[in-house]
Amino acid sequence: MGIDIIIMQAFSGLSLFTILLLMALGLAIVFGLMGVINMAHGELMALGAYVTYLVALFFERNLPSLMGIYIFFAIFCAFAATFVFGYVLERSFIRFFYNRPLDTLLATWGLSLVLQQFYRSTFGAQEVSVPLASWLSGAWEPVAGIQLPLNRMFIIGLTMVVGLCVYLMLFKSRWGLRVRAVTQNRPMSAAVGINTDRVDALTFAVGSGLAGIAGSVFTMLGSTNPGTGQLYIVDSFIVVVFGGVSSLLGTALSAFAIAESQTAIEYFATGTVAKVTILLFVIVMLYFRPQGLFAPKVRGA
């Protein structure tokens, strides 16, 4: 195994890390912070992907000269669409379930079926494909023999930006302060004057919007079909739970750990072995640390 392969493998791990992180960020907010188990989270990603597809179609037909940068509009639209959808969803549906986590799980599972069928009826059962801008296709070759795919580099960069934005919003903004307060003690937050209803709706919407961004970005790597969301949902949950609910840093570390081990195992064994090993490892870890690997030290009051 040459040094070139080692470098490319390390890069693969890094890339998978950003993908898992992007996937899990929205869920970390919705599930980790709000405690809402949204089984339709994957379908929100699919929504982002379909919006990206529509934006691509629009540019292809009306603004072919701007095809090179459509992806930025697409990511924004995907975020906006899922944000709004998430907001409406929270107000009309999720908020009735705050004290019944297990029921939320079932109801949102039903929602995911409805959404899948909606996509199927609207976009057809076939895969839809989104064109990749020419500056994002191909690979960067710093030295001969090492090719680093440009679209993956783009995703790594974007994830960093998104991660930073989420960090700033949560820890440096008023909204973030409210969210963290509500997370820790909902009734007390209301009793200090925080409009918890609005915080809930906005938080859920932001989490959904992040799913939309993830879905939009994944069109560069994979396929979009009505069932796409199902591929992501369990992985996302595993990343969040493994990292320790209510810790974004934990989510990031857990995504990193899972990604690196998965790519390494995949290289030396097979994809199936990698997947099973990771799943079993996570389950065993959760047995020893049910609060997650990186749960915060200060326990709730």
Partner: protein, 358 residues
Amino acid sequence: MKDLRTASEISTYILLAVLLLVILPLGLDAYRLNIVSKYLALAFVAIGIVLTWGYGGILSLGQGIFFGIGGYLMAMFLKLEASAPELPDFMVWSSVEALPAWWVPYHSFAFTIVSILILPAVLSFIFSYAIFRKRVSGVYFAIVTLSLALTLATILTGAQGQTGGFNGITDFNTLMGIDIISDESKFVLYVIQVLMLFAVGALVSLMIRSRFGKVLIAIRDREDRVRFSGYDTAMFKAFAFMVAAVLSSIGGALYTLQVGLIAPSVVGVMSSVEMVIYAAVGGRLSVPGAIVGSLLVGFARSYLSEYFPESWLFFLGGLFIVVVMVIPNGLSDLVDRLLARIAALWPAARKAERSMAQ
């Protein structure tokens, strides 16, 4: 109120018995009856879910695991019988030269039956007792079991030479030399299955009414309080979970017999979650409700997908949402409330009558 629930449960059993043993066999074609028996196999799982979720507050999204264990073990026996003395066909294609060691005991029917009952019991008890000892909460338990279901499905799909992979195990026609494809034997199986279902249902109903059931309910409502009173709550929960696992396994074995195949998709995440909805529709607090729920969802699935092949998922998804939002305790609760209202009217009505007479 409690007597009323018992009364309504007993009358549901009687109605179900009439439906399953008289009306359906007379009214349905043999192939339709076979489809009913598919739902009834799932009803075993639903009864287990009533016990764990409804009364124990433990939601498992991995009942497919135990359903799969039962189903696969039964399929292994049937497949060995079908292909003896050769290797099962999928092993031949996957270049497996000799029968894997863990397959060998499944030449024996007795061993198969025993392991269908014992294996899930042992696995589920060890697993859940360990988890419950850690005081893992409901949501975590749901997600851990969901991941386990995914893991099992991945292993089954991946280990093709040993499990038949994605296609699963199919293509067997006899059980101990008896043809199981013919309508007659399917009918006999059906009757056996219905009787087993009633036996199991009665058993679980009794469990719920026993001291065990009372402690379980107390644990569901205030676990710490029960723990402080000196009970090993983890033991109670694990026991309930074990009973549910064995029921699922029995259901899986019957499913394999009735449907004639078992595959990872029957074991995985999707079907595991769907099993919960059977219990939810019927009422998570009612054992006969679980049977009714399985039948209703099954029928809805079959008929809607026949007449609305493109939009029936809307109905299925909508059903999840409506049940959870509008009738969280399911149909049986709706019926109970209705009965309670009628019962409340009854003495009042009689009193009114009497006063009129005076």
